[in-house]
């Protein structure tokens, strides 16, 4: 018997997505038709089999917990600082405690909640016998929360400071931010200077402060910060005017990041010098914005932000928006495959781009891989096939300046755009095609007047 009953209805019936009336109709049919009844049985079993979650495993979470770095998100540094702090506690606690009382008294109006918290928190006099026994001043032991976390103590404040270090060419100073803890009785100028002396965290930057330099004193008045440095600052300088600029502006630009400081006056052993090495030294220095270069991470963040705007414009076919991101002089090149051929592939200026989706004109975009036939398509056709043929805006793998090891086409982005930075959106492909339907879109950006502009949209896919 051949039955023409709608298969979809049986599915709906199985999933219980029908009105009572419809259900009755299907049920009547199932009673009568063996084939559909069998379908129904198969579907039902498929569902119950898929639903079954009875398999248990005891080892999974244990193994995962063993494999992961549990401190990944607990800021190792803080943990470390906390421990070091704790060890030093018996000695410095009385000082902190006194400071805490002052801080609380001074700040109690503004900080009433904090104050209340401190007072109300359960005292733990016995918790740290060294501290409570050793000092008669320590009447406020009960005020300090029993916890050993230094963050809870008022005198320590976290601040993010910006330091400038020399780059490897010694022609720019590059910003590096770091978080520091500053207590009430520390001078911020001193703390910042000492952080500068500790040197940069990133490997491609250099400290420019001569070895052995000591900060004898620091004071700020009327926007001028006076740094009184030891003679090593002059004696141990390696020399060279480039190095000198690095030294000066590493310090000056760092100091002028602080609020209330516009200029820096240097003193050596308490004296104003006529000149440092070359630079005139008896006047205060102002900040030099031009000598500040971008750090690699800043560049990356800028390019990523531009690329995000571009990929959304591409997804939404917003040509006005996309055109605004295109390089004003170079235009944008469209490469159908990973191997970019500037002579062969089409380049459009930002103005040309705006109306291109509506254009009927058939262009030659290069050659099809394999057959070698010319790719002759309108812009709209090319767009669907070689630009946004996958939802690249939502792929999981997005990489910066990285060429993934797949496909067998020679990726030559870095040769064609040596000064460019690119973002790659990569879709790994699906199982039924054995991953051969992978696709990628690379957006290449070059800098122009301090902004990153799109110069190339390179598509990548399986080639033979």
């Amino acid at each position: 018997m051949n039955c023409n009953f709608d298969f979809e209805d049986i599915i709906k019936y199985c999933e219980n997505q029908m009105s009572d009336e419809e259900k009755k109709r299907v049920k009547d049919h199932l009673d009568a038709c063996e084939k559909c009844r069998r379908y129904y049985g198969v579907l039902k079993y498929t569902e119950s089999y898929a639903k079954d979650s009875s398999l248990k495993s005891e080892s999974i979470s244990k193994n995962v917990m063993e494999a992961i770095d549990m401190n990944r998100y607990s800021k190792n540094k803080k943990v470390w600082a906390g421990k070091a702090f704790y060890k030093a506690m018996p000695v410095i606690k009385p000082i902190l405690a006194t400071a805490a009382v002052f801080a609380v008294v001074i700040a109690c109006v503004a900080n009433f909640d904090n104050f209340k918290r401190l007072i109300e928190s359960p005292g733990s006099i016995g918790a740290n016998p060294t501290a409570s026994n050793s000092s008669p001043q320590n009447t406020s032991a009960a005020v300090i929360p029993g916890s050993t976390k230094p963050e809870d103590l008022d005198p320590v404040e976290k601040r993010t400071i910006t330091l400038y270090f020399a780059n490897s060419n010694a022609d720019k100073v590059i910003a590096e931010k770091r978080e520091v803890e500053i207590s009430q009785d520390t001078q911020i100028e001193r703390l910042v200077f000492e952080e500068l002396q500790k040197g940069p965290k990133s490997e491609d930057l250099y400290s420019a402060i001569p070895e052995g330099t000591r900060l004898l004193s620091a004071s700020t008045a009327n926007g001028i910060c006076t740094l009184n440095l030891s003679k090593e600052f002059v004696d141990n300088h390696p020399g060279g005017s480039a190095g000198e600029l690095m030294t000066l502006y590493s310090i000056i630009n760092t100091m002028t990041e602080l609020s209330g400081i516009d200029k820096v006056q240097f003193l050596i052993e308490g004296q104003k010098l006529e000149a440092y090495i070359h630079a005139v030294f008896n006047e205060p220095f102002g900040r030099n914005q031009d000598i500040i270069g971008k750090s690699a991470s800043e560049i990356k963040a800028e390019v990523e932000a531009r690329s995000q705007a571009a990929i959304l414009a591409i997804k939404e076919k917003d040509m006005e928006k996309l055109a605004s991101l295109v390089h004003p002089e170079k235009g944008v090149l469209f490469s159908p495959y990973s191997h970019i051929e500037p002579g062969k592939h089409k380049v459009f200026s930002k103005d040309q781009l705006k109306g291109l989706l509506k254009s009927e004109e058939v262009y030659n975009w290069g050659e099809y891989d394999g057959s070698g036939d010319p790719i002759e398509l309108t812009f709209a056709q090319y767009y669907d096939k070689f630009v946004y043929n996958h939802d690249f805006a939502n792929v999981e793998k997005v990489a910066y300046n990285q060429i993934q090891p797949y496909g067998n086409t020679i990726v030559n982005i870095s040769d064609v755009y040596p000064d460019g930075n690119f973002i790659e959106y990569y879709f790994p492909g699906t199982e039924p095609h054995d991953g051969m339907d992978w696709a990628s879109l690379r957006l290449v950006f070059e800098e122009y007047n301090g902004q990153w502009y799109l110069v190339c949209i390179a598509h990548g896919q399986w080639t033979i």
């Binding site: 084939k35 198969v42 498929t46 009875s54 979470s61 790994p428 699906t430 199982e431 039924p432």
Partner: protein
């Protein structure tokens, strides 16, 4: 239903945030909430307890490592399964083709009431093994969509998100999967008699 889903979402987001603040217990809790279903899903995808365990572990390790990238425009479960699918695709495909699977022995136990009728039990078991084999032989994306739909109560939209396709395409795949299973089963029945 929607209430429950939003609640889950809020709960998950809370746990994620708390993990990112360094509270490792929250991650353990997240894992407890999702590991059984994910493990069972992967067990069906791989037909191997050991592989499923291994991949589940790997997925959670990846989730932990990349948690700071998690964007709560996704629901956590969608994100989790997306990572699972990707792991499965990239790392598992080679092994599977080499394996011979005995579906019959993998059929979940039948109710005890059937133990008095070994012949019927045998027949049912064989039919069920047959269906499992058909599910396993589906195209990978159809199978994935089908299992996600049936076992996880994912919406078509969510399945689409996991597989990187539209909700309509996800619905289509599930429909096709069901059709394929039924048609092939029909053929087997006819051929067998």
């Amino acid at each position: 239903m929607i209430g429950v889903l939003t609640m889950n979402k809020e709960r998950d987001n809370m746990l994620v945030e708390s993990t990112l603040k360094g509270n490792i217990n929250s991650f353990e809790e997240l894992m407890t909430l999702y590991q059984d279903k994910l493990f069972n899903f992967l067990a069906k995808m791989t037909y191997s307890r050991e592989d499923a365990e291994e991949i589940t572990q790997e997925v959670f390790i990846k989730v932990y490592k990349n948690l700071y990238k998690y964007n709560n425009k996704w629901s956590f479960s969608t994100w989790l399964y997306r990572i699972a699918i990707n792991t499965l695709r990239t790392e598992y495909r080679k092994v599977k083709n080499l394996k011979k699977i005995d579906y019959y022995t993998n059929v979940p136990d039948l109710p005890a009431s059937l133990s008095d009728y070994p012949e019927i039990a045998y027949e049912i078991k064989e039919q069920r093994g047959q269906i499992m084999k058909l599910i396993d032989e589906l195209k990978e994306d159809q199978k994935t969509a089908l299992l996600l739909r049936c076992m996880q109560d994912f919406s078509f939209k969510e399945i689409g998100d996991i597989l990187g396709i539209s909700p309509e395409a996800a619905k289509m795949k599930i429909q096709r999967a069901k059709q394929t299973i039924c048609r092939k089963y029909e053929k087997l029945e006819k051929g067998g008699r």
